[in-house]
Each structure stands twice: as structure tokens, then as C-alpha cells.
């Protein structure tokens, strides 16, 4: 799959905001990943051409940041914050429960490709723990039942 015209236009708009093209690499990766699900070697090559850098320059950036993926993911990313404030309020117990219910461990994807489950470092919701993030949406003040209701609602 290659980058759509929309993504390419979006990247061009982002580039205009920075004094050097490359400033728009993270925004471009966000845009490309939103469309393609992950940054493949082929996507890295296309982006490298757009940015006039090398594919390896793209992939080392991808590898550095948690939110970029170099391989296919489930349709939904579910991240449970397991940092200290959340752990103090049962985040890891919640995580165990979700793992048991989904039948996968953190870091894995359900067999139907619906959910990739992961743990994450502090998400800035410390007072509303435990919590999880589905893509860009926070769900806070959870227990296992509330969490499963949210996960069950994911297509």
C-alpha cells in the first residue's frame, strides 16, 4: 500500500510549518500510520523520498517512539497505564483481568485482529486510575467490568 494523495497533501501542509522539511517527519509518520496502520519498510521508503532522507533515517525514528509501529497491529490499540500512580490503584490487577478475558498477554493481538493490548507508562491520568487508552481516547476510573464493557464495544 502506498501513501494516499490526502496523506501526501497533509504532509506538505505540515512541512510548510517548519523551517526545515524534516521537522514534519513525526507529523508525517502520524498521518501515514493513521491511514496504513503501521510504518512498513515500503512506507519508510516513500516517506524517505518525500523528506529527501534515507529509509533507515525514517525507521530509526519509528523504532525510538512507542506510538509508531513497524509491523501490523490490531484494529484497536488498548493500552493500560501501569505506572506507579495507576499501579497503586490496581492497574496491574486490571491488566491481568483484561489479559485473562481477551486470552492474550500484553504485547499481543487477539486472534481476530481486533485488539492489540499493551501496557504503557504514565499517561497523565494519575488521579483517575486505573485507566486505559483506546487510540486517542482515555477511559478513566475503571474496574474490570467497566473496562470490558469498553473493549467489548470495539468493532
Amino acid at each position: 500500500m502506498s501513501l494516499s494523495e490526502q496523506v501526501r497533501d497533509g504532509i506538505a501542509r505540515e512541512m510548510a510549518k517548519y523551517p526545515k522539511k524534516r521537522g514534519a517527519l513525526l507529523p508525517a509518520l502520524h498521518l501515514a500510520q493513521a491511514e496504513l496502520g503501521h510504518i512498513s519498510v515500503e512506507t519508510a521508503k516513500e516517506l524517505a523520498e518525500v523528506f529527501e532522507i534515507r529509509p533507515i533515517d525514517v525507521m530509526e525514528v519509528v523504532s525510538f517512539y512507542n506510538m509508531f509501529y513497524d509491523r501490523p497491529q490490531g484494529r484497536h490499540h488498548v493500552y493500560v497505564c501501569t505506572n506507579l500512580p495507576c499501579s497503586l490503584r490496581g492497574a496491574r490487577t486490571l491488566m491481568r483481568g483484561i489479559e485473562a478475558r481477551l486470552g492474550i498477554e500484553a504485547g499481543e493481538t487477539t486472534a481476530d485482529g481486533r485488539i492489540t493490548l499493551g501496557h504503557e507508562e504514565c499517561l497523565g491520568a494519575c488521579a483517575y486510575a486505573p485507566m486505559l487508552r483506546v487510540g486517542g481516547t482515555y477511559h478513566e476510573d475503571l474496574d474490570l467490568e467497566k473496562a470490558m464493557q469498553i473493549l467489548d464495544g470495539l468493532e
Binding site: K17, Y18, P19, K20, R22, G23, A24, L25, L26, P27, L29, H30, F51, E60, V61, F64, Y65, N66, M67, F68, T82, N83, L84, P85, S87, L88, R89, G90, R92, T93, R96, E120, E121, C122, L123, G124, A125, C126, A127, Y128, A129, R133, G135, G136, T137, Y138, E140, D141
Partner: protein
Amino acid sequence: MLTVPYVTSYLSEHFGDDAFRTLEGYRARGGYQAAKKALTEMSPEDVVELVKTAGLQGRGGAGFSTGLKWSFMPKETDKPKYLACNADESEPGSFKDRILLERGPHQMLEGILIAAWATGAEKTFVYVRGEYAYPARCLQQAIDEAEAAGILGANVMGTGFRHDVVLMRGAGAYICGEETGLLESLEGKKGQPRKKPPFPAQYGAFGMPTTVNNVETFCHVPHILTRGADWFRGFGTEKSPGTTIFGVSGHVVRPGLYELPLGTRLDEIVFEHAGGVPDGRKVKGVIPGGMSMPVLPASMLDVPMANESLRERKTMLGTGGIMVMDETTCMVRAACVITYFFRDESCGQCTQCREGTGWMNRIVERIERGAGTHEDLEVLLDVCGKMEGQTICAFADAAAWPVQGLLRHFREDFEEHVRRQKCPFPDSFEL
């Protein structure tokens, strides 16, 4: 869900009011008057002087004088100058910048405008952590509104001053909250902090002179402009004036945000404001300023929350993220979580940090599993010593301090694990 602070002051006064998030609502409450005043009545030097006199300290963790930082920007230069707003809030226990972005984005933009005038910056890059999708949307909305109204752009409020604000989203790396890590990330690279010299004021974003300030720091600025340095100094302590928004989390009745003057006592925040520990349990320890800061035991909570007093207890204000741990808490488990975090987030450049964070994590996890030795405790402290003050940025210090703090005040927890070769805290939070 994110709620407005339980205790409010000037920063969060209007956070309960949805209209405050809009340009119209912000203006109706006096918004952008301070920026107008700065741009039309004051010289950049006047503004820097005023912020210095007010004694505003950066609220991102280091507590450096904001006015002084601004004054480092070169005056005579042909290069474009930039500001960067650090909205990469990732310090565990901290969630104040999130509400400042969600509930008062124009307040921050006004602070940015004033800082831009003071430093001669033509552009501000706001670096919002990637996970903050909603706060980023709130801010982008405010930027769009301000641009449309001529508050940002080629002719700020008709003054002829140019200033643009660009919002960039990070992608999940704690180290991008370090100011030069942020600059690298802004340039589309891995967020690995830069060696200094050169310093950002000489060679910052894209090689141009740059000043980096935290979200909250900018938010204080319009209030100082409007009401003056004396008024600002009416809050807080002599050395640490103003309020800050404390985030309280962990084992308390009312976890949440509290805007209080710096110097408010920690026990007052934990017990009076946040309602103490639920179910009549006792406090065991409190991390006062985000996870990088050393823990305090229950006996030391009578401390004013300001750097000068916290330093006497070998800890610091940091980002004001207060984490309360009750008597059931196993401090070795806490150490496991803390060291895992730093291991996970180390950028990996400097030897001591890359290898030290992992080594500490492996040792504390082994102790928790019941396979620790007494020598391990000495090795842990020794590794901390080898990391502290030795690396490009302060991350390694931030990784060492909490371990030192736990061993300083809760060594008995570690020794008990070693003696019994298992975790002696069955009721502690699960790992």
C-alpha cells in the same frame, strides 16, 4: 474523568467554565489584555525585568528563573528566534499541563505571546505528548481561533509584531520532555538530548536561538503582566513565589488537582485537601514531585512544598506530582515500577544511564522475587552514585534519586525481602 481542580486560584479560576476555553469567553474574562499591554506599552526588556522581579520559576521540574532564561536569548542576531512550549508532560504523577491545555488554552497562548515579545521570537513550537490527543485538539482549536482573530500571525493585534504557533505532537517518549530531547524530536529525529555546549539559547530548534518553557510557566505570565510582581509575590514563599497546580494521586480519598501557593505544607495537601488515606489506613511514604523525586516517609510530611525547604529533606518540588503510598505498600514493588519506567524510557545514549537503569531494575526485581542479597543493596546505591551527575542530561539523576530515596527511608523493606527471601507485604498493590 479529568476534573477541574478541587482548589482553584488565578490559573484555574475559570476552569469550571466551558466558555473560558473559547476565545470569546477568554476575552470576556479579560483575556489577551496582558499581551496587548506588553506589546503596546512595554519594551521586551521591561517584560523580562518584570518576570524576573516577580521571581517566576519554571514549572517543568527544574525550577530555573524564567526571566533569567529569557534574558539568555541573543539580542543582536540575524537568525530567527524561536520559543518551544514543553507540553510533553510525562512525569509519572503529573497531569496539570493536561488541564491547562484542555481548560485554558488561550491563557497559555497569551503567555506565549508575551514571552515571544520579550525574547523577540517569531515562532513557537508547542510540543504536546503524542498520547494527549484531546488536549492537542483543544489547543489547536484555540490556535485556529486566535489566528482567525489576528491575535496570532503576521500582525499580532494590529501591533505589527509577527508570531506563529505551531502545534506538534510527540509520539511516546518521556525523554522528549528534556528540553534538548524535545528540540531533537521537533527536528524530526530521535529525541536524544544534546550535549552542551552549545546551549539552546544559542543553538536551539533547527539551529536557531530557542527558549523552552513549560506549559504552566507560560500560563503564569499574563497574570504577572496584569497584576504585577508584588501581587505575584503575594503567593508562595520568598524564594518560590506564585501558585502551582499540584496533582495528588495514589492512596488518597480525593485524588485530583489542587492549585495552591508554593510553600503549602505537604501534610496539608495530603490530609486536608486530598482527604488522607482511605479506610483509616496510614501513610507510609509520599513522593512529592513526580516520580523522579526522592520519596519522603510519613514522618517528614510537615514540609513546605517549595524547593528551598524540600531540598533540606533531600528531595525536590519537581512537577508537583504528589504520590501517596499507604502502609500496605511494598517499597520494593514501588522500586520495581520506578526502575522499570526509567529503564524503558532511557534514550540509551550515555553508558551510565543505558546500562545503569537496566541493572537497577534487574536487581530490584530479583529482590522482590526473593532472590536478593544484602550486597545487592550496596550495589544499588553504588550504581546510583555512578549514574548521578555523569550524563548528558538529568535523566540518569532522575533515575537514581528515587532509588536512593527509597533506600534512605525504607531500607528495612529491602532487607526484609532479603532476609525472608520473599515479599513480606501480601496486601501491597499487585505487580
